[in-house]
Symmetry: C2
Subunit: 388 residues, 2 copies
């Protein structure tokens, strides 16, 4: 049975380039080198203690059976209250579906919105899995190049220009991975208008909400109450491995989504759901806000340091924990350059190619998911290499 | 924005009929009625204590970050050892991908094996989500009617007869949901031959392995080393809400599957993975084997009781925790009949329609996921209704 061929879809799903870098980084570490990790899209702070405690209590209570497909009612309610508190948005709990990470929310949303051959408009660069989900579903993506001139985000103008008869909707991410930029309120409203006028659907990835520095990001629900929102307990709430997220959907979509969730997931992880109830408690929020301040300091240090070395950052990233730096002063091939940085500086970063095609070979994503001392060390090592 | 239409795929995904019954059952309970639950596909025993303890230890150790997409190496290794112990099968750990429930394994396997329009051969009746996964992926299913004459399973003959140029492979389930039957070894080998001769792929759902009574089921890997196997920690291991399963794949498929898993899931739930390491410990297995004996007693009681009342069970179910009973002596519409049983007897069961079309309106699935006393009570109430 040696020579198998699998589906075309499987062949077209791309791997993350950074995985090979990560493997090499671990090898270097096993050889005794001290590698600074700035490649990972995961907070280094771990699960907040009150959340971890709540998980253990749930286990002791035997709360480990299946739950409703859309999540336990008390968590949906708690998330609804969070929208009231943070954004002043009144949201019935029924409009919130708890999912297996934002990954689960993406699969549900795209399954609902696209038929085979239909397209979602996405930014390039952007979170790479978005287009892979569409590919798996036999739908497609319209990748719209974005750059510093448009704050690395889609605009009403670019959305309108790329809309065609097969377009089902638009996915925005704000703050965005990898660029950390936030869509301005007026632009968000203008994009929502364009999408509504064309009878499409607007999906906004708000995964990095709570991780904006010096201001709070607006939820699209404050502007367009019928938008779809993707969110997660992974980033602001520090619960990556618990695999829990949520999808806010318009009321008329909830039954379809629940039906799909029943079939595709049965239910989200149960202990994670009970743990997440503690994520909204004041003690936890206090911890999360301290972490947010730490992230802000790291961003400021990293942005200043990279600019000083000679990386171009025409726009200061406003959120998430990424800096998407233009390295064209040093290279026109950041894929090779990332390997050089790893080998020569023992600093692991992610090449732009992992996030799209548009000027990807000029860019590098730095994650500031490591502390100030380590960021200083990484900057110093890279300076030695490229400046001398 | 009132009148939305969603994707065709969303419209075609079916809900479980039993959900409305379950809702009504809960309403009856809130009114003070004592409802016997025999509709649920979930063991009533809860998580084994050593597994729950291991989860708490993992949380205390801070093991709550993302893991590799295919799972932590030590769990993949532990599962590989399990195949050696239980089945005498040598399986490199690399061929095992840990997934978010068997649901995650199904999505990966079908994504790998089918392109748009391609078909998997499935039994009717069968686990309903199988065909919904295929629909979501724009692939399709060939539903092959099975009945008592063929042990409610696909046969080499029926597979060959239904194979056409768009067929990518076959999904068997052994023991099967809803019928509890096991494919005989010779038939399994013959089916594997038919599939291999046509250049297709064989996927076997072994989710209910460990829950066969009086004998151990053969894994397809003992017969066809290159088959795909779906399994789960939910059933035998009693870990439903932890959402953890696995997929065994041929070596040549592992890279494709890992790449898809990275994109679709990031990683399986972390605490669940560390907890699952304890699932293979002798203390846990001892608990699980006691539960297995309890399930056997329940099956024997339920099968005898239903036959005595007048339900037809031409084949004794050999595994899982389901009895798929022919109720044609009482009704030609088990959907209504299940509602009557709920209203009149306060016993919740699942209509055959949830599992397919073939003679579905004659059949009812009884789950023996409740203890002997409750099964006695349910039998007595149903007897009163239908026999008097």
């Amino acid at each position: 049975m040696g020579d198998k061929s699998w589906s075309q879809r499987a062949a077209e799903i791309e791997s993350f380039k950074v995985m090979d870098l990560l493997k090499r980084a671990r090898q270097l570490e096993s050889e005794g080198y001290d590698v600074v990790h700035m490649e990972v899209g995961e907070p280094d702070f771990g699960t907040p203690a009150p959340v971890a405690e709540a998980a253990k209590v749930a286990i002791d209570k035997g709360l480990t059976q299946y739950t409703p497909a859309a999540g336990i009612p008390e968590l949906r309610q708690r998330i609804a209250e969070f929208y009231k508190q943070r954004y002043g948005v009144d949201l019935p709990a029924e409009r919130i579906l708890v999912t297996a990470g934002a990954s689960g929310a993406l699969l549900l949303a795209f399954s609902l919105l696209t038929d085979a051959g239909q397209k979602m408009i996405l930014s390039d660069p952007g979170y790479p899995c978005n287009r892979q989900f569409l590919r798996v579903l036999e739908a497609a993506s319209t990748l719209v190049p974005v750059d510093a001139s448009g704050n690395y985000q889609l605009t009403a103008e670019s959305v309108a220009a790329h809309w065609d008869q097969d377009t089902a909707g638009v996915l925005l991410a704000s703050p965005a991975n990898p660029t950390g930029t936030v869509v301005a309120d007026e632009e968000l409203a203008a994009i929502a208008d364009v999408v509504a006028n064309r009878g499409g659907q607007l999906v906004v990835d708000e995964l990095y909400h709570g991780l904006t520095y010096g201001f709070d990001a607006t939820s699209v629900l404050q502007i367009q109450p019928d938008a779809f929102v993707l969110n997660s307990f992974s980033k602001y709430f520090g619960m990556t491995g618990w695999r829990l997220g949520w999808l806010v959907a318009p009321e008329g979509a909830v039954h379809e989504l629940e039906r799909m969730a029943q079939n595709l997931f049965i239910s989200p992880p149960t202990v994670s759901q009970y743990a997440a109830l503690a994520a909204f408690e004041p003690d936890t929020i206090a911890i999360l806000e301290q972490r947010r301040e730490a992230f802000r300091q790291r961003r400021d240090l990293l942005v200043a340091g990279l600019r000083d070395i000679g990386f171009e950052l025409p726009v200061t990233p406003q959120g998430a924990f990424y800096v998407y730096a233009d390295a064209s002063r040093f290279t026109d091939n950041t894929f090779d350059f990332c390997w050089d940085i790893l080998e020569d500086c023992k600093v692991a970063v992610t090449p732009g190619l992992d996030f799209g095609h548009h000027h990807a070979s000029r860019h590098i994503r730095f994650s500031y998911t490591t502390d100030l001392d380590r960021i200083e060390l990484a900057l110093e090592r890279i300076r030695q290499k490229v400046v001398g």
